[in-house]
């Protein structure tokens, strides 16, 4: 059974850096104290982050004509779905209800804006925007996993799943970087 920590007053905000790469900032009102997340919130953030990438992959599958981009998008959809299915099974087993929180909300809001803006693109412009964002997005999520979510997770199984996720998403980041280099 998980112990739920009371969420700290610190707000976790997500901002767009340079218009492309979203960056996590964990800062309190005074900008000093890192946010403390409980396991239910961490599970929610990880699941939300996975779902965002699945939605982006589905958009790419519907819009792209480039085989390498399509292969990558299918891989993202498949891998993130596998992790999220595992996460759902885990929270069920632990009898935990994932808890919405400012980080998940900021991630979702940012992702919705990106989906809307990429919907207006097509052809190579879309492919480039999608793949560049995949590089930035995986970097962001990997940073958050390393510095915030994995260290913050109390439950060993959740921590283990997040660690597997980090390993996987680093592979994705590498794959996205290789793909981005070929699209230039």
């Amino acid at each position: 059974m998980l112990k739920f920590l009371a969420p700290a007053a610190a707000a976790v905000a997500l901002v767009a850096a340079g218009g492309a790469a979203a960056t996590f900032f964990a800062a309190g009102a005074a900008g000093a104290q890192a946010a403390k997340l409980n396991d239910a919130q961490i599970a929610h953030i990880a699941y939300t982050a996975g779902n965002i990438d699945i939605a982006a992959a589905k958009q790419a599958i519907a819009k792209s004509k480039d085989k390498a981009v399509l292969d990558f998008a299918h891989e993202m959809e498949r891998d993130h779905t596998a992790v999220n299915d595992k996460a759902l099974a885990l929270v069920k087993k632990l009898n935990v209800t994932p808890q919405d929180n400012p980080t998940s909300q900021a991630l979702s809001k940012d992702a919705k804006a990106k989906l809307d803006s990429y919907a207006k693109l097509s052809g190579k412009a879309f492919d480039k925007a999608y793949v560049d964002n995949e590089v930035a997005y995986h970097k962001t999520v990997n940073g958050a996993l390393e510095t915030q979510l994995i260290p913050g997770a109390q439950n060993a199984e959740l921590k283990g799943l997040l660690q597997t996720g980090l390993k996987l998403f680093k592979e994705h980041q590498m794959h996205a970087e290789h793909l981005a280099a070929t699209l230039k």
Binding site: E75, D79, L168
Partner: protein, 111 residues
Amino acid sequence: MALLSRCVMACLAGAALAAASACSPAAPPKTYQVVLKDLMFGPLPAQARVGDTIEWDNEDIFLHSATAKDGSFDVDLKPGVHQPMQLKKAGTFDFICKYHPGMKGRLVVSP
């Protein structure tokens, strides 16, 4: 005398059979399990030979592959699968998972 002779004959015949067996190039083929777990290929056999079989055991929840860089083999490995692959040629094969190229291995196959 006749009995001794039969014994000698039998021994010689036995020795000949043993020699034939020792000279035979075909040791019985072996199967080696290679486990894929946590986005890594597990230990590979040190003495694999042509005719042996690698059984790829994917214990991850992700689709992987064993893809030789020189194109000698390319097998998709679904989660939970135990996929046999017979070794058909000798050589040193560097391979990756084409879906997660950070996963790497080197398979050495003797003639």
